[in-house]
Symmetry: C2
């Protein structure tokens, strides 16, 4: 049942104002004309305070992520598609099939409606492409200077695949460590923009939904121990988290980790180590060594895994160190990220 | 597996800094020492990017709410318990049993850790009291001046009760409209604080989780048509939403709507109509008239519904007007909230 508003929302020239978060008529109009038309699906159309969904027929998985990336638009994406991909990936790496997303917006008074519409359209495209609908949402508005344009929290639920048991706690000495492609694109796309680095071709974020790749991979190798998307803190921090959670160490091979020349150049310019730079479309996999070849083959057969590589092995280590065999033949310890290298990267 | 940090988090004198959102060691420590210890449960303890939950055995319901209330602490509650109650209520009014919550935090650099710890403790208390665990979460930090202390988005999932079909679209002419108690306490608790209104006794927010009351009510009267918690925009706006969604009108009786004297006094001082003021622990119910007495009895038997009242009836009306029989015997139209009456009330 559509309402009649005095005039349509002026998406071209209008701005977010406090009334758009009031719960009243202006909010209803914003939701109808800007959100619901883009996200259009049977669940949102219910028009209640939440969404009634299907029986997932299995164990649930739930993940949530706040997105505060700055700037909001960057080569390869924007906060809209990022917020869809990020949460789909968090559900998918648990070994679950992502089913539904909830989206909550915190908007700053004065933000241009045209930019908000671009963000929402990008979210909707990403959600449709992934086949994971945004089924419910919320919008709040805060005064100018009390937020930074747009923050989006997405929450995903999915259903755990039967017979799959993936966790950061399951890595065992001897397991192979695989990585789906080159590292650092997302973080360096953002940093290059912030620092006004000019390249012949801009570094493009790798933001992508990994559930398709993961589906293929689990079909081929259901024995996987651990999957993670190495976002904030990069591959180095994610490996350290897994090492700690599983009570093991790791030895990785620098030469096997791909870094594209533009990312390498930008990292050198800014004094950053690509191992600590965020990715938004890469997958770290740990699996028993006898399944490594099959897992690599399955990953390389998918467009998001063509550059997949074996990058190292899990080993016994009471100190839970992640060590790296360097290109020069030495070894060094790859520690946790300990300072704020890249704020607001996602 | 706990990590060893150089020193424990200084919760008494410390502040949030950008490293707490970096994905690195400082973030891990914040999560361990401030969040995980409070929310402690088997799901969070899994330590992955999401949580593996049980099979809900039925149709899912999902709801999400961003909380940006200002000030963060108020008589009767704070953003922490509010963010738990608000989302539990959104799931419960769909006729579902709330099962799990996800919590995502956006923190402003410089926010005192001691205050954050109070908020988290309040969330954890509310979650335990409600029996709905916080199973997964996320933390982001933005620079000073890019947020306002703490924003919290909570997302809830629940399972729909068999045989229950509640929706804002199901109100039918002749149905009774019930309200669980007096109105405006939450909004006026916030506004009195903001406007420095001094009363002998402060107005206390009614923030509360309604799923217990709703469980009793649905046990007694499974035929309920609609439940809603009248938050932003108040009872007036919520009734208008239902009228529009169901394609009906309503006639409500001013004398039957309870407003406590302090709320009435504060509203008069500030020129506000309590019908438009937010509640965070009240329930609007629409049910077939023959079940109104049973529904009222069930509500009054619960501590959160002792002051429940029949406040009016649904009627046919192609214009979907909500009308009010005033105390003086006249009738007026109760329109949607059309301006921003009370920003950042929840």
């Amino acid at each position: 049942m559509k309402a009649n508003y005095a005039r349509p929302l002026d998406v071209k020239r209008g701005h977010v104002d406090l009334s758009h978060g009031s719960g009243g008529r202006a909010m209803a109009q914003l939701i109808e004309e800007l959100f619901a038309s883009e996200f259009s699906n049977e669940f949102l159309a219910q028009g209640d305070d939440g969404a009634r969904l299907a029986d997932p027929c299995g164990r649930l998985v739930m993940a949530t992520d706040a997105h505060v990336v700055s700037p909001l638009f960057f080569p390869g994406g924007d906060i809209g598609c990022l917020s869809v991909h990020g949460t789909i990936n968090d559900v998918a790496v648990m070994g679950a099939v992502p089913l539904y997303l909830a989206a909550s917006f915190i908007l700053e008074e004065g933000y241009p409606l045209a930019d908000l519409a671009r963000i929402v359209a990008s979210m909707a495209r990403a959600s449709r492409a992934a086949g994971v609908p945004v089924v419910t949402g919320d919008t709040k508005v805060v005064e100018r200077g009390k937020a930074d344009g747009v923050f989006i929290t997405t929450t995903g639920v999915g259903v755990l695949r039967e017979g799959i048991d993936c966790s950061g706690a399951r890595a065992r000495p001897g397991d192979a460590v695989l990585l789906s492609g080159s590292i650092g694109e997302h973080g360096m796309a953002i940093m290059s923009l912030r620092e006004n680095l000019a390249f012949d071709a801009p570094i493009v974020s790798d933001t992508a939904a990994l559930h398709g790749l993961i589906g293929e991979l689990l079909g081929a190798v259901p024995q996987l121990r651990t999957m993670r998307d190495p976002t904030r803190g990069g591959v180095a921090t994610t490996l350290n988290e897994i090492a700690r959670q599983s009570g093991v160490g790791m030895l990785i091979n620098e030469a096997a980790i791909r870094v594209t020349p533009p990312v390498e150049a930008a990292c050198e310019l800014l004094g950053l180590d690509p191992l600590y730079v965020a990715n938004e479309g890469k997958l770290l996999v740990i699996c028993p060594p006898e399944h490594a070849d099959a897992a690599l083959a399955a990953m390389r057969a998918h467009p998001l895994g063509v550059a997949a590589n074996l990058i190292g092995y899990v080993q016994e280590d009471d100190r839970h160190f992640v060590q790296m065999q360097t290109r020069l033949g030495g070894r060094r310890i790859v520690d946790w990220l300990s300072s704020e290298q890249l704020p607001r990267i996602c």
